[in-house]
Amino acid sequence: MNIADDKLIINGQEISSRLFVGTGKFASNELMKSAIEASGSQIVTVALRRVDIDNENDDMLGAIDSAKYLLLPNTSGARDSEEAIRLARLARAASGIKWLKLEVTPDPYYLLPDPIETLKAAEILVKEDFVVLPYINADPVLAKRLEEVGTATVMPLAAPIGTNRGLSTRDAIEIIIDQANVPVVVDAGIGLPSHAADAMEMGADAVLVNTAIATAADPVKMAKAFKLSTEAGRIAYKTGAAAESKIAVASSPLTGFLRDE
């Protein structure tokens, strides 16, 4: 297979990288900019918050070249479908972008997504012509239901947001990948490049990483490591793994030993 022909298509649009990156938690805009660059990502997530009218506001968007990157606004902070829809409409009004990472997380402790409110919001937002990429728990039935209402992807979590614990939902993600007709983006909880490679080897179409890059000792180098591991995992998946065996299968010839028979 020619790897160059292995394209990720979301909502009819070709996406140049299977690594999506978040922009939260970076120590500075400059560091964020360099890390995004090193990640090779095209899709970059952002959030919406109130302007602080008493203090100077930092314009982080100025650090992201909108001609080069595809901004993916999220609905973080939404606790129900109404709040998510309000944020979605604001994001579109602010940016003209109709792509949306839909997240509804009423529980502040584990930040787990509410499946019922997410489905409800997705249905409405799809009708309003949003390109909806929903953040969900690794629930294969919910993933199917979202696909049926017209979401552009499904984005199951590997582990709770920011925990860096890797693919704790492996078995369910395998089922989601097996059943999905839309791209599966493993989002949240990916803490190491090996986790990203792992998800890609399983057949995930992409991964979304923020905390593991932004809070690394050197975010730019870590972004590069994630870029390489995501690509490596994808190539391995498309190539197909070699067979497993319970007993050893010698790699060196079993003839011509320097001993008498």
Binding site: G22, L48, R50, D59, L61, S76, A94, N210
Partner: protein, 69 residues
């Protein structure tokens, strides 16, 4: 009384409520190029900031993009 509720907080303009949303942003020193606004729950597009009239007692949300995952 010349108050507006801005981002959830009452703000007193001591008799001088700005006429338009663009005036309000200027007064607050908020760069309108990076902001989206909601007045009493209705989204105001950036292109309409100059024509969106402000009235006493309105609830105004000023929102912008920040880093997020």
């Amino acid at each position: 009384m010349s108050k507006l509720k801005i981002n959830g907080k009452e703000k007193d303009f001591s008799g001088k409520i700005p006429s338009y949303l663009s005036d309000l942003l200027e007064m607050l020193e908020v760069d309108s190029a990076t902001v989206v606004a909601e007045v009493d729950g209705k989204i105001i597009e950036r292109s309409n900031f100059k024509t969106a009239k402000i009235q006493e007692g309105q609830s105004i949300e000023l929102i912008r993009f920040v880093g997020g995952g």
